[in-house]
């Protein structure tokens, strides 16, 4: 009777890298590692930007220093771009797979155990991506710089004049908050994906993820808020 297993093999993939990437678990590992790389950037970027509170000389010197290291900067940039591409490719492929995994949806479905942040990764991610593109166009390339002139090299000026536009700040605060949500889940979930979990440590890790996410959001949004309030001019 054919109710029993038709044990035909799906051809084996000889290359273990391909096999790894093709499995959902492998993709999640890639997402965890690339996520971690981007998180390191987010922290570094924040620390650099907070120098705005120390006055124009300091932050402009910092910007100058970054540009002076040349090749190294590009290596970092390339690594980040690769991370973003892999992170997004994996997400899109997994999302498509997940859509296929449930062809008929529920007429009613309640979430009872998951955090809001974890359920909205598919939204917070793309919005943050859109923001990053806008952000690069504004502060790195200077293509979009409403209501004032972009001055190459004068980071302090660009920052202050940029954030004095209320909607730029609002958009920034909104996107950074979503980044916070993304990190609140991603920061502990990356450990889960690479197989590090413990009934006692994981709850601590979750709390730490929340704290770090909040600290990062507060750190970033302190800049436009200070500018809007006139504390930094």
């Amino acid at each position: 009777m054919s109710t029993t297993a038709s044990a035909a093999a799906l051809g084996p993939h000889r290359n273990r890298v391909v096999t790894f990437w093709q499995s959902t678990n492998g993709k999640k590992v890639v997402m965890a590692i690339t996520g971690a790389m981007m998180f390191l950037f987010v922290v570094g970027h924040l620390l650099g930007n907070l120098q705005v509170f120390e006055g124009p000389e300091k932050i402009n010197a910092y910007a100058h220093f970054l540009h002076s290291i040349g090749e190294l900067l590009w290596i970092v940039r390339l690594a980040l771009i690769l991370a973003i591409i892999l992170h997004i490719t994996a997400t899109v492929q997994l999302a498509l797979r997940n859509k296929r995994a449930r062809p008929i949806g529920y007429s009613r479905k309640e979430a009872i155990n998951s955090s809001y942040a974890s359920r909205t990764m598919y939204w917070s991610g793309p919005i943050v991506l859109a923001f990053i593109i806008f952000h690069l166009l504004q502060f790195t390339a200077g293509y979009i710089h409403p209501e004032s002139r972009f001055i190459e090299g004068d980071v302090y000026h660009n920052l202050v004049s940029g954030f004095q536009v209320w909607w730029v700040s609002a958009w920034y605060i909104f996107a950074i908050t979503l980044l916070g949500f993304h990190l609140r889940h991603g920061l502990w979930s990356m450990f889960q994906s690479v197989g590090i979990a413990h009934t006692r440590h994981t709850p601590m890790l979750k709390s730490a993820a929340l704290l770090i996410a909040v600290a990062i959001v507060l750190g970033y949004i302190s800049i436009p808020i200070s500018i809007l309030l006139g504390i930094v001019k």
């Binding site: 009777m1 109710t3 029993t4 297993a5 044990a7």
Partner: protein, 637 residues
């Protein structure tokens, strides 16, 4: 007919070794040529299918559930016995053997039980190797507990889910063979008839429960491991799907059915709450280690338990059995609960319940200790009844739990039809008139892992198997009988549902062939069961068709078999004019109300043969001989 149990002669310690040596072997290269059918995927069935697959036979394994992992062995809570003597407390193979013979009230074969006790040690080793997470000491060794009133700690357990873990172990071994290609697993399929050709079991007729398609499966031997028939009572601790159909159809094809009236009532179940009740939930027997059982002294006392003062409570087990107290064997505890309820002293809405009170244990040991020991059981009780057993006493009542009777088998586990082997609860072999706690898992696995792999080889090596195909007249007649029966059930289109018949039947069997029986009551029940069966075949309604998934049709076929079985149970109970173990005839009791055996006249296995739809079954007796443990009156006072 003379029944030959084929127990090897000589000292009992060497019997199994001798039997194994005397058995013919199948050449490894020839094993692949033999096909076997296993019906059922519980402990016995899954263990057998996996072990036979490992040996190289081509095995087909059937279950009616969607997966072999659902078999009802999964619900066993307490544990599994083994004569390991790890606790160094006086356990031995001989003691386990002795306790089991005595516990079964001297109505089982010594030879089989001795072998069971011997094999028990191998089972634990096998299960540990499979990864069954048995409870452990801090040092890493296996831990044991005392269970069901045994005086030694011989019970191995995995929390309150021992049956689940053992079954998953067997299921995983089975899936390993499915992957290896030696076992074909056929789920959602029910065996509806046995095919007997030239006097040998050669196959089965099945119905695919999803599509309704009938199919014929031919093999060199058929192994039934289809469980017990407790659901004849409608309300039982068995799974809803547990049924007698496979063994019953084998009975009607010529296999003898032994001791059908030996059924076990478990004393600690959650009482019935209303007419809609579909099954009874068992609470582990271990609760009696710390709980005290009582009822009010006064009839019809409606006060809440906490308001009844100590002086107005009757701790009836402690009063009647000072040395064993609340730990008397299952049959004794159950019968006493029924007696106090019959006196009108039962508790709860229905008056069918007694208290199991932990307040003493909690004040003595603290709530924390009790929670550690029984936490999951207390949670389950609270989930079902919405009462907190840490604060108010539990209410419990006996319920049918296990059936010791089953198809007659010899020492080789072969029934009276050559080539038809019966394992686990489906056979009658090892528990006599009463099964001890934590013995069922032991027997199922012993039959499946360690007995059938040898005995079936002997059968295959000593018989010839001419080719049979579907066109054989016997096959055709079996198929057409199955088809006719199915069509008949669908065509009656009467007024009553299958469940309403089943409930009524169950109540009859419970009232007259349950915890206490009388010749008069059994006679009455036989008449009522026949009348009800007739009404069933005139007035049952089965909606839907036979060509797709039809749960009413499945139930109808099973209930039809339960009707016939119920009658045989009553006939057997009426015929056995003595009380023994779970079979308590009110006419035969000692002056203080205990079971009174009659060893002179009833020290035998009653094996019944089918003679036709309207003629009485024929009794064949297999005399029981006791060379090692001499029959004595069980006393727990």
């Amino acid at each position: 007919m003379k029944l030959d149990a084929k127990i090897p002669s000589g000292p009992i310690e060497q019997a199994w070794d001798k039997a194994r040596f005397d058995m013919k072997l199948v050449n490894p290269a020839n094993k692949r040529k033999h096909s076997l059918i296993v019906v059922g995927s519980g402990l016995a069935g899954a263990a057998a299918a996996a072990s036979l697959g490992e040996l190289g036979y081509r095995v087909k394994c059937f279950c009616f559930q969607d997966s072999p992992r659902r078999a009802h062995s999964i619900a066993a809570q307490g544990g599994i016995n083994a004569a390991k003597n790890y606790p160094n407390d006086g356990e031995s193979i001989y003691r386990l053997f002795y306790d089991t013979v005595k516990g079964g009230d001297f109505r089982a074969r010594e030879g089989n039980i001795y072998r069971l006790a011997q094999i028990s040690v191998d089972i634990i080793d096998q299960c540990v190797a499979q990864g069954v997470p048995f409870a452990r000491e801090y040092g890493g060794s296996l831990t044991n507990r005392s269970f069901g009133g045994a005086q030694v700690s011989r019970t191995f357990y995995a929390r309150g889910q021992t049956g689940q873990q053992l079954l998953l172990g067997a299921y995983q071994a089975l899936e390993r063979q499915v992957h290896a290609g030696s076992v074909t697993m056929i789920p959602r399929t029910e065996m509806l008839d046995l095919i007997v050709i030239d006097g040998k079991a050669r196959g089965i007729v099945t119905r695919n429960l999803v599509t309704g398609a009938l199919a014929v499966h031919i093999a060199d031997a058929v192994i039934l491991a289809s469980g017990g028939y407790g659901n004849v009572y409608y309300l039982s601790t068995n799974a809803k799907g547990s049924n007698v159909t496979a063994t019953w159809r084998a009975y009607k094809r010529g296999a003898l059915f032994a001791n059908p009236c030996f059924t076990q009532i478990h004393p600690t179940c959650i009482p019935v709450s209303g007419d809609y009740q579909s099954k009874l939930t068992l609470m582990s027997e271990s609760l009696r280690n710390d709980g005290r059982i009582w009822v009010p002294l006064k009839k019809g006392d409606q006060r809440p338990p906490n308001e009844i003062p100590e002086s107005e409570r009757d701790y009836y087990l402690e009063r009647r059995y000072p040395s064993f107290g609340n730990l008397v064997p299952r049959d004794v505890a159950s019968r006493n609960a029924k007696a106090v309820c019959d006196e009108g002293r039962g508790v709860g809405k229905t008056g069918l319940g007694v208290y199991l009170d932990f307040s003493d244990a909690i004040s003595r040991l603290g709530e924390k200790t009790i929670r550690e020991r029984y936490g999951n059981l207390f949670d389950m009780y609270q989930r079902i009844t919405d009462e907190n057993p840490y604060k108010v006493p539990m209410r419990i009542y006996p319920a049918i739990h296990y059936t010791m009777g089953g198809l007659w088998v010899d020492y080789q586990l072969q029934s009276t039809i050559p080539g038809l082997f019966v394992l686990g609860e489906a056979n009658f072999s090892d528990h006599g008139a009463n099964r001890l706690g934590a013995s069922a898992l032991m027997q199922g696995l012993s039959d499946g892992y360690f007995i059938i792999p040898y005995t079936i080889g002997n059968y295959l090596a000593t018989n010839k198997f001419p080719k049979v195909d579907e066109s054989h007249a016997e096959v055709q007649s079996a198929v057409s009988e199955v088809r006719q029966k199915t069509n008949k059930l669908l065509s009656i289109k009467g007024k009553r549902t299958v469940d309403s018949f089943h409930r009524e039947l169950g109540k009859l069997v419970w009232d007259y062939c349950g915890m206490a029986r009388t010749a008069e009551g059994l006679e009455f029940a036989i008449g009522k069961i026949r009348a009800l069966r007739e009404e069933f075949w005139q007035n049952v309604t089965v909606p839907g068709s036979g060509d797709d998934l039809n749960q009413s049709l499945e139930k109808a076929g099973r209930v039809a078999d339960f009707f016939e079985l119920a009658e045989l149970m009553c006939i057997d109970a009426r015929d056995r004019n003595e009380s023994c173990g779970g079979h308590f005839r009110e006419e035969y009791q000692t002056p203080d109300g205990e079971a009174q055996r009659d060893d002179d006249n009833y020290s035998y296995v009653a094996a019944w043969g089918y003679t036709g739809p309207d003629s009485p079954p024929q009794l064949t007796k297999e005399p029981l001989e006791f060379h090692y443990v001499h029959p004595s009156q069980r006393s727990y006072k």
